[in-house]
Amino acid sequence: MSNLALEVGRTLQPEAVMFWILAPLAVAAALGMLFVKKAVHSALLLAWVMITLAIFYIAQDALFLGIVQIIVYTGAVMMLFLFILMLVGVDSSDSLVENIRGQRPASIFAAIGLGGLIISLISRATLGVETIGLQDANSAGNVQAIAQELFTKYVWAFEVVSALLITAALGAMVLAHSTSTKSRTAQRDQSIARFRGASLATAAGLPGSGVYALHNAVDVPALLPDGSPAPTSISATLDARGDMLSSKPFELEAKEVEED
């Protein structure tokens, strides 16, 4: 494969232009992710940051990593996030009042600590270390080089992570399907159970609303299916004034009918 790259440390003009256009956009997107009102917008801005990172990876010869970043992170992980956000509907109307005491100072402390840790780690790894680029590593081809490393030097970590993924997938399946351990009762069995209940009055189930209504005045509460007054039908104003009339709870047990 021919070597079309420059010496390490030199950036071609087009790549510099691309960097200086995309990098501020990525930073703005990352900041926007924190400050936008809607959760879905935040997720989309995060997806944009991931795509920008992938473009930078590809620009620096890490082709496989960049493409896989898009396929896995943007295409699968962020899609999952979006599904959850869309279905659950996290809203900005959620209360920002914190229930846990001391959470804010603790979280600020933890964030500063984490930031310091990351900065120190990265600077230890990169400051003063010579960049050698990926030309030598990619001498056999980017994919081949990764495959070589992954299946010889890092095969143990690779297999452990894949075992973890399989466990997670199995766990998700078990959690999702855990309710169907009993078989559902068939229609015939349900029907028999209805007629063998405490009294035949329960055979047809509870009546619909309004069946036992005796009044529809505004100062008489409506009845629930078991005959007791419905609390939501009581007018608070009338109740406060003492103007609500009572309605006796309706008894469902069948009275003895005298045979002549």
Binding site: S2, L63, I67, I70, I71, T74, M86, N142, V143
Partner: protein, 411 residues
Amino acid sequence: MSTAELIGTDPGWITLVKGLLIFIVCVLATLMSVWGERRIVARMQQRLGPNRVGPFGLVQALADGVKLALKEDLIPKAADRIVFVIAPIISATTCFMSFAVIPLSGKVTLFGHETVMQLTDIPVGVLYVLAIASVGVYGIVLAGWSSGSTYPLLGGLRSSAQVISYEVAMGLSLVAVFIYSGSMSTAEIVSAQDQWWFCVTLFPSFVIYAISMVGETNRAPFDLAEAEGELVGGFHTEYSSLKFALFFLAEYVNIVAVSALATTLFLGGYHALPGLGFTESWLGGWFTVIWFLAKVIFFFFIFVWLRGTLPRLRYDQFMKFGWKVLIPFSLAWILIVATLRVLSQQGAPKAAVIGFVVGVVLLVLAVSTLFESSKKRRISNDALGEVQPPSFPVPAIPGSKTITRTEQLNG
């Protein structure tokens, strides 16, 4: 030199010209696909398709596009305006981007410069197409969510879930192609099909890819999520004029894109039919474009044929099919292919290869026989036993022997 190096010597303006040509080809392909689909499906239903607008109705799709552009552009009140507008843009742009790595021709001369009709050739070209498809799903999901009503949201989520599921199957079916061609670059895969096309040597992969490409593009028989005429319209319910036109465009360009990918990976790309290899040098190498287009049109015809023939599958039926049938088959096939490849690369004796193949065939037969017998046993257990006839008169059970009226009347 290799295709990648050849493309690497292109001056910037050649790349722009190629990009423009590919864009024009895509849009023309969409117009022709819309026309072709309507005409072909109509002939399958023993009627003519559109034949009024332009000769043979060829301008119909263009007229439809102009009509859509001039329609009233509605944005629902509950819609999220920014995302509502961005979603069709994402869908439309990503489907065009898939064409960047598809080799449309062999070596040709474009304005005095020797090149190939392929915009770029990266060593992970096919993965790039998969990545673009993953980003394209965003258009569907965001369209459904940003419409601000429940049915587009549910339709969008179902559509995207389906696309993601069949993307997995598609990716797995391509692994065998990578193993056999030794590279993920589209140009190298095409050149690896000089002798035998992969649709012959890797037939199961071809079948799995063909099925998953139909599922990926939300086409019949897998189009429940946007069933025209059954549901309102799925994720694009609330979309009106030009944005709807963009979704429409995106659907057809996706069809052409997956067909082009299938052509490249399984049907030998721009290579001529075996035996007609001398045609590849006609027209200064441009005849290969005709071969490529002929194969893409063949795949498109298969898409339309499927749509005109098969009834729609239910959503859970085809999700089950995608996950429980296609993916396990793909994985098993990849194991077989990998073993065969390793055996052939390490120069194993022919007996080992034949023994392995026979072993696999026997295993498949044994598993399928076990499956069939367990299914038969399950069916016979479920069947109703003999029902005791009751002692009082009952009307005749449908399907039993027909009782003539004379017998009924005479008792």
